[in-house]
Every structure is written in structure tokens, then in C-alpha cells.
Subunit: 214 residues, 2 copies
């Protein structure tokens, strides 16, 4: 739940927990966005008026990043266009304050029942797209075939584009090898990926690791 009014947040949290839900609360827009990205939640209750980032922007960002978490929006504005805007930003339902707790609960259940549409959780960086479920990678809409190891390495890098990731970390997560494994294997596979994806997608940061160009 992303809600900056502490009392409302606490009341809802208590109520939902009593229903058996596991509830986390974020108080600001950016914090909520972050939680939605990485928290593995089944749904999000989202206030529109938030410090840092409005609920509208939050949903829009989330959808642009291909996250399809069901979102129930709360707002004090009951203008019909506010409601329409919220839904068109990508929210799945919209309630105006003050709202009935029973209604909130029923709508939340309806949302969960409907569930997230099968995750097009597609990672996209530049013209690179990686679909974990379909295990497909395309570069400028052309399919690229990767081996299992190459695929694992690329998806690890694509989850943190622009960041430098050390060979040790890659060995650890992609190979789950111990620290003493020779890091040369990473170099070899980066080489393979460069050959298949283009020379300049993967930058070497000498002495530090590799970075996926954004």
C-alpha cells in the first residue's frame, strides 16, 4: 500500500491483515514505486496524492516498465475525469475517499481474482528485449538465439542496465561458483554475447566489471 496519511494507512493495514493479507506500507511515491518493482506483491493500493511522485505517475512508470501488478487507486478527487485519468494511466480500479472498507475489500478481492495478466515481464534495454517466460531475445526485432548460459548472463545484466557489475558477482549469480573460480569464463561469455548482440552493448570497465549500455 502506498499512502502518506499515517492513520488511514495504519487502519487499512490492520484491517487487511485481519483478513489474512500480508501488507507493507510505503509513504512516498518513489518508495512505493521501488516496492512495486521489487517486492513481488499481488496487488497495490495506491493513493493519488503522494509526496515525491503522484499516483498517476507511479502507475504510468510501472506500466511503462512492463510491470502488470493490479493497482487499486485511491483519491479524494471524485471528478469523473480524475477517475477516468487514473484508469487510463493504467490503474485497474479507482475508489474515491471517503470509501467504505467493505467496498475496498470486495474490490481488492475482485482484482486479485482477476489476477495479473500473464506477465509480459519483458526486460527491455535499448532495442534489446528479453522475455524470460518465452525465453526469447530480440535485438531490433530480430531474434537472437542464445545458449542457456548466455541467456542467464544477459538477463542478469539486463536487470541492472547501466550499472557496473563485477565478474565476481556474475560468477556468483550466473554460475553460482565459488570466489576462487577463474573469472576468465566470464570474459569468454561476454565475448560470446558481444558477438551475438553487437560489439558495443557490453562495455568493459577495466578493473571493475561490465556494464550494459543503456
Amino acid at each position: 500500500m502506498v499512502e502518506d496519511e499515517a492513520r488511514l494507512a495504519a487502519a487499512l493495514q490492520r484491517g487487511l491483515q485481519a483478513e489474512g493479507f500480508v501488507v507493507d506500507v510505503a509513504r512516498t511515491g518513489p518508495a512505493g514505486l521501488d516496492a512495486a518493482r521489487h517486492g513481488g506483491y499481488d496487488a497495490m493500493i495506491l493513493d493519488v496524492m503522494l509526496p515525491g511522485l503522484s499516483g498517476y505517475e507511479l502507475v504510468r512508470t510501472l506500466r511503462a516498465e512492463q510491470h502488470w501488478l493490479p493497482v487499486l487507486m485511491l483519491s479524494a478527487k471524485d471528478g469523473e475525469y480524475d477517475q477516468a485519468d487514473g484508469l487510463d494511466c493504467g490503474a485497474d480500479d479507482y475508489l474515491t475517499k471517503p470509501f467504505s472498507y467493505v467496498v475496498l475489500l470486495a474490490r481488492l478481492r475482485a482484482l486479485l481474482r482477476r489476477g495479473a495478466p500473464e506477465r509480459p515481464a519483458v526486460l527491455a534495454v535499448g532495442d534489446l528485449r528479453l522475455d524470460p517466460a518465452r525465453r526469447r531475445v530480440t535485438r531490433a526485432d530480430a531474434e537472437v538465439t542464445l545458449t542457456a548460459r548466455e541467456f542467464a548472463l544477459l538477463s542478469y545484466l539486463m536487470r541492472r542496465p547501466g550499472q557496473v557489475i563485477s565478474k565476481i558477482e556474475l560468477l556468483d549469480h550466473v554460475w553460482n561458483a565459488s570466489v576462487e573460480t577463474a573469472p576468465n569464463i566470464v570474459e569468454v561469455y561476454v565475448g560470446y554475447l558481444r558477438r551475438k548482440l553487437g560489439r558495443d552493448r557490453l562495455e568493459t570497465v577495466r578493473g571493475a566489471g561490465y556494464r550494459l549500455a543503456t
Copy 2:
């Protein structure tokens, strides 16, 4: 749309048609139920107060019959429990009359965007059709006879066409075997299916699993 007030129905129909929707109207509960069952619609707008069969009962019946058409319920009752009841019967959204047309439209769009969690009576992928009820499979309109195991495997794959499904998962769901069972049996059955359905329907994704070509 299932609505017995002729003027409202006509107005909505006109409006939605102007937005590019194809709209049919049913005036009674039973007629609406029938249309929902056989009409192949993408969503249903449903009044609660209907002659013959209430909206609540209609949705409940539909859901009990495993139809997962998105339903937007309309009602003159704005008691919170009415709303909660409607949603708990299986509706996906609920609007109280009088409602704003703009809001209706936005909610309808949100509902369509989320889409029906497809559970079609007949699974179809390419020229392959599989009818779970009749336990029949056809390929380009020619019947294919499958053994029980082959059928189970194929239907599991057809529920998630294009996605890569691991042998472990197949073992788990089609064989409900433990993780330590030798995955060779999956390979064998994929071989059988390929022989019966054609070589290239089932792609092997080395190190990952199998994928039904879309």
C-alpha cells in the same frame, strides 16, 4: 450489454459504438446469460435489476460454468454491501446509477485491458485444436488420436503456447512425479507428440525445456 431500461440501453449503445465497440443489447436476465455463454464477447455490462434473473445470479451462474468474461455491473443500489455482494458474486467492477459516461468508459477500458484470464472451452494454437471436454485433438481439421498421457502433456503445453516449460514442471504437473524422477520420460513423450503432430510444433530449448510453436 444486459439492460432493461430501453432509453439507457440505447444511449449507451450509441455512445459505445461511437467509440468503436461492437455492442449487442439483451433486455432480460436469461437472454443476457445466453448471450454471454455463446456470444464470444470481450466484456459484459450488466444491470442488477433485470426481469427473469438478477444480475447477481447471472454472474454467479456464469462463473460457476467457468466463463471468465469480464463483467461490469450497474446498479441503482449504492449501499456498500450491495456493491460488495456484486463483486463477490464474481463481477469485476461495479458502478452505481447515476454514473458518468466518461467513468463507465474508462472502467470498461481498464477491464478490457486486463482481459479475461483465458479459459476457453477449446484450446487453439495455430491449426491445432484441443477440446478438453470431448478429449479430442485435431490438426488442420484432421483428428489426431492421442493416448491419455500424450493428451495431458499436450494440453498442458497448449495452455501456455509460446512459453518455455521446463521438464521439471511437466513432470510435476503431467506426471505429478517428484523432482528426482528421470526427466527422460518427458523427452520420450515429446518425441511421441512430435511424431503425431509434426516435427516442428514442439521446439526444444536446450537447457530450459520445451515450447509450443505459436
